[in-house]
């Protein structure tokens, strides 16, 4: 039995260890996902769509002859880039189809980089959707039809490496946006030097000690088990889409604008989704649009679903970071300067979020006390798979260099790196040392046995025959406090108190696995504690349906878990007032003279005269009490909590294999909303982080630009046998605004793992490896053995 976390404030429901509300439904196989809801049996006449994908990393379609494909029995429609309904579709950016907010076309986040066409004539990576799409009676027939297309390709020169792509004379991928492949600055991200506080160069030249280093983050992919899937039915003036998008309202907005249909004639239905991890950041979402156009053309429902190979459509953005730091001998950092080149791949998507937006947030909340800070970044187009919005966007890449600099500086100064972090990192709302960071580092150090196990680099005991052990850590500020979620706009919930006293909770958000549904029910039970409800008395409406739901809270940023609960606290207050109004008639008294508690409503002066709320509601008209509330997250800055990963590794210096022995993940949450769910996120994040650190990587054939491992045999995701013992530690130290003052944690749990492992590897063998994943050949090369 491991130790449970300790609540700062005792609460009845919020913060509990308990099963997920969907545990039984999912464990028994009854939970329905998009692919389960859209079987042919439920959709008479269902057709299947397949889209042409480029076999070349860079090419243009000169022409497509569709004659043979259209003549194939079973083929019902072929659409190409030349068809007017396709050609008229506006260029888009994934900054619109993926975001935390529901916005119109004109308000999309990265307007400067509208580089995606729904079905263009230009292909920018191997696998790019291009040119033509087919609807047929079966998937096999649709695939066969694609093979029968006669395509005249103009094959163009390509470039995979961002540093090569920046050189003059390199093939240019989006000449209309970036004449030399370097994405131009935009309004939101700012100039190339997007943060320049004090004078970093001067401070570096005057510093008592300086260090510099490089960190290269790679291109792991989200790898959700549930491949993208949708069915569109478009009959008369009504379009209905079932999908596993994680944002129903934004999908509706997207379809409405692009296809010019009023919002009320579009219905988007989302059920359970088998994992998100940021995969929404993809221009592939236009597949909603071509599926819709095929449905219109054929008059039949059309299904589109990714194969596993096609599900490789987005990655973390690979980033080469160079960092320099200046410090005093006591460990006080006087200057930090970072330069970054991000490989955006074929499309910009949220590149500037990763490269600029996220680092600005980190600087604001963690580097507030460093007087001289400079950040410079460039996003570069290449002919690789687009990369950006994976779990921990931008923060994972930045942490890899930040944790590196801390370790380098500590070594040079002969200090403990924990001390260096504590001495320097904190937000502007608080002093140093930051209380949250101090608590997090202390807890992690205890769990991993930092004092006993940390030794001089490469000087630890040998574990025969060739094992060397070491420990390392990395820490990072959270980025999902409520004040950082203002751009979401209003968050909505609707609570219905049924005549029998049970509750139906419409807190719409697509359940992608995060556990926010359980948080919602616990938050609702907590808010309605005056009704004395058990979580089982609350029915959480699982399906998001834009016809019946209020606006869904987009399932990003790990913060849905508390954002909707904050609104529920307000809604519950209103619900109480409505109960009192109704009771006022019954008791012939003013609402102010009545109260509700323990599931009973009563006159304050004569509690004994009270009746059960249920009895009040079961009056003859049987009208439920429904309350809908919206709340915009308040923008008052409260700082953020910190988190950290600690790792112990054993490196086999004979084979180069790195074995992680133990991980400790420590999160200050502000308030833990649901302990079992939060620990599942902490543990699960280590799994994904360890994949990024040790094994996951998309490999390209440099001669042809063809990715070689778009499958799960060669792209290696950690399994149960690969995972070490993990200690999840939850803390409540920092506090934000609102009823709970919580902070999303799930996304960040992957962020520190690669750097913690790299620092532990250095501690073990005394040789630094700058690039993840740390595969055996890299270790052997670093040791001079290969």
């Amino acid at each position: 039995m491991k130790e449970p976390f300790r609540q700062r404030v005792a609460r009845r429901h919020v913060g509990g260890y308990r099963p997920r509300i969907d545990g039984m439904e999912k464990a028994s196989g009854r939970a329905r996902y998009a692919d389960d809801l859209t079987r042919a049996e439920s959709f008479p006449g269902l057709l299947y769509a397949k889209v042409l994908r480029s076999p070349y990393p860079h090419a243009r379609v000169r022409s497509i002859d569709t004659t043979a494909a259209e003549a194939l029995p079973g083929v019902k429609a072929v659409l190409t880039y030349r068809d007017p309904e396709v050609a008229r579709l506006k260029a888009t950016s994934a900054g619109w189809t993926d975001g935390v907010d529901t916005v119109s076309y004109d308000r999309m986040m990265w307007k400067r980089y509208r580089d995606r066409r729904v079905l263009g004539d230009k292909a920018c990576w191997v696998g790019d959707e291009v040119g033509a799409v087919v609807a047929a009676e079966s998937e096999e027939t649709a695939e066969e039809a694609l093979r029968l297309l006669k395509i005249d390709w103009e094959v163009l020169p390509f470039v995979l490496d961002p540093l090569e792509a920046m050189k003059p004379g390199s093939p240019v991928i989006h000449p209309e946006i970036a004449s030399g492949n370097v994405m131009p600055p935009d309004d939101i991200g700012g100039p190339d030097v997007f943060l320049d506080k004090g004078d970093a160069e001067k401070a570096l030249s005057e510093a008592e000690v300086t260090v510099e280093g490089t960190s290269i983050h790679h291109n792991a992919t989200q790898a959700s088990l549930d491949p993208w899937c949708c069915v569109v039915d478009w009959k008369a003036d009504r379009l209905t889409m079932w999908s596993n998008s994680y944002e129903a309202d934004q999908s509706r907005m997207h379809i409405a604008t692009m296809l010019d249909i009023p919002l009320n004639r579009i219905r988007v239905i989302s059920s359970y989704v088998g994992g998100q991890f940021g995969r929404g950041d993809t221009g592939d979402q236009p597949f909603f649009l071509f599926t819709a156009l095929l449905a219109k053309k054929t008059g039949r429902p059309v299904k589109f679903k990714h194969t596993r190979r096609e599900s490789f459509h987005d990655t973390r953005q690979p980033a080469i970071y160079h960092g320099r730091a200046g410090a005093r001998k006591d460990g006080t950092i006087t200057a930090l300067s970072f330069r970054c080149v991000g490989n955006a791949g074929a499309y910009a998507d949220h590149s500037m979020f990763a490269l600029k937006f996220a680092p600005v947030e980190v600087a604001e909340v963690a580097l507030a006390h460093v007087p001289n800070v400079r950040f410079e970044a460039r996003g570069v187009y290449t002919n690789k798979i687009p990369g950006c919005m994976m779990r921990g966007v931008g923060n994972s890449q930045l942490n890899l260099i930040l944790g590196h600099i801390v370790d380098l500086l500590a070594e040079k100064l002969g200090l403990d790196p924990l001390e260096v972090a504590l001495k320097n990192f904190g937000h502007e709302c608080g002093g140093l040392p930051d209380k949250s960071l101090a608590a997090v580092l202390q807890a992690g150090a205890e769990k991993i046995g930092w004092k006993e196990k940390r030794h001089a680099p490469g000087r630890g005991p040998v574990f025969p025959p060739d094992g060397r052990r070491g420990v390392g850590f990395s820490c990072h500020p959270g980025w999902h406090a409520e004040w950082q979620e203002v751009r979401r706009g209003e968050v909505q919930v609707r609570i219905t108190l049924n005549p029998d006293g049970t509750v139906t909770l419409d807190a719409p958000t697509v359940e992608t696995g995060t556990g926010s549904n359980t948080c919602n029910v616990l938050g609702c039970a907590e808010a309605l504690s005056f009704l004395d409800l058990a979580p089982e008395d609350i029915h959480w409406v699982q399906m998001v349906d834009t016809d019946t739901s209020v606006k869904d809270c987009v399932q990003t940023d790990s913060s849905v878990s508390y954002l909707q609960s904050e609104v529920m606290a307000l809604a519950a207050r209103e619900l109480k007032e409505r109960i009192l109004e109704r009771a006022a008639r019954k008791f012939d008294a003013a609402p102010a003279d009545l109260d509700v508690s323990g599931g009973r409503v009563f006159p304050r002066a004569q509690p004994a005269r009270g009746i059960a709320v249920r009895e009040l509601l079961l009056e003859p008209d049987l009208v439920p009490i429904t309350v809908t509330r919206s709340r915009r997250p308040p923008g008052d800055k409260t700082g953020v909590p910190f988190f950290a990963t600690f790792a112990e590794v054993e490196v086999d210096t004979g084979t180069g294999k790195v074995r992680v022995l133990h991980l400790a993940m420590v999160n200050d949450c502000g308030t833990v909303m649901y302990a079992s769910g939060a620990e599942a996120q902490q543990i699960g994040g280590q799994c994904m982080g360890l994949g990024e650190a040790l094994s996951e990587e998309i490999v390209y054939d440099r001669a042809t630009g063809v990715p070689l491992n778009f499958n799960w045999i060669d792209y290696t995701i950690p399994t149960m046998a690969d995972m070490p013992d993990i200690d999840p530690v939850l803390l409540e130290v920092w506090r934000g605004n609102g009823e709970y003052g919580a902070c999303g944690i799930g996304e960040g749990t992957v962020t520190c793992t690669p750097r913690a492992v790299l620092n532990a590897v250095y501690n073990a063998i005394g040789v630094r490896i700058d690039e993840i994943p740390v595969k055996p050949e890299k270790v052997l090369r670093a040791l001079g053995k290969a």
């Binding site: 491991k2 130790e3 449970p4 260890y17 308990r18 099963p19 997920r20 969907d22 545990g23 039984m24 439904e25 999912k26 464990a27 028994s28 196989g29 939970a31 996902y33 692919d35 389960d36 079987r39 042919a40 049996e41 695939e143 790898a223 959700s224 088990l225 549930d226 491949p227 359970y272 088998g274 994992g275 998100q276 991890f277 194969t307 596993r308 696995g513 995060t514 556990g515 079992s676 769910g677 620990e679 599942a680 996120q681 543990i683 699960g684 994040g685 280590q686 799994c687 994904m688 499958n711 799960w712 045999i713 950690p718 399994t719 149960m720 046998a721 690969d722 995972m723 200690d727 999840p728």
Partner: protein, 203 residues
């Protein structure tokens, strides 16, 4: 629609599940070789189904496609479709097989158990659903891999009712949980094992 009848014992020869997978275009020379379509009899969750090969059961159809698309057993998931993730795991004569890697016709004469065939109070299902012990997280998050894990765990506990943690890790290392709930899953399997033993060994 396939004809349905009560299970009447096994027919056809027993053969090991093939791990090969049909290529999309592979032509199975069944039609030429057998002028009379062969009957394929498969028992799923205790109910017998009979198909005519290459008539109502294409010879290149995988067992996963038959179970999901034709028969509606959607608990199993097709995720990687190449035997790497285990989400499509079902039991064939009590042993775990990957239904995306096996042709439906290969199940002729065999008994298939999908997650829908487990009793509602199955200890493995309950243990996965209820896992919330401090320090290990839940045994599922998005739930997409869960039916595959449950069936693999079921097969393990059929063979080895009291596995050690190492044995659980070994047996379940062919399944991928991208949410990374491995610690909770291992706890759930160990707990299911205890629940089965407390019931006197009855699954």
């Amino acid at each position: 629609m396939p004809s349905r009848k009560k299970a009447a014992g096994r027919s056809g020869s027993q053969h090991a599940a093939s791990r090969s997978r049909p290529r999309p275009q592979a032509r199975v020379p069944f039609r030429d070789a057998a002028p009379q379509p062969a009957a394929v009899r498969i028992t799923v969750n205790g109910t017998g189904y009979e198909f005519l090969a290459d008539r109502d059961l294409p010879c290149n159809m995988t067992l996963a496609a038959l179970l999901r698309e034709k028969l509606g057993f959607t608990g199993l998931k097709v995720s990687c479709d190449e035997g790497a993730c285990g989400a499509c795991t079902v039991l064939l004569d009590g042993r775990a097989v990957l239904s995306c890697m096996m042709l439906a016709v290969e199940a002729d004469g065999h008994e298939v158990l999908t997650i829908e065939g487990l009793p509602a109070d199955d200890p493995v299902i309950r243990a996965f659903a209820e896992q919330s012990e401090p320090g290990y997280g839940t045994a599922l998050q998005c739930g997409y891999c869960t039916p595959g894990f449950v069936m693999t765990a079921r097969a393990l506990l059929n063979e080895n009712p009291a596995p050690t943690l190492e044995e659980v890790k070994e047996a379940l290392s062919g399944n991928i949980c991208r949410c990374g709930c491995y610690a909770g899953i291992a706890q759930a399997v160990l707990r299911a094992s205890r629940m089965i033993r407390e019931r006197g060994g009855r699954p």
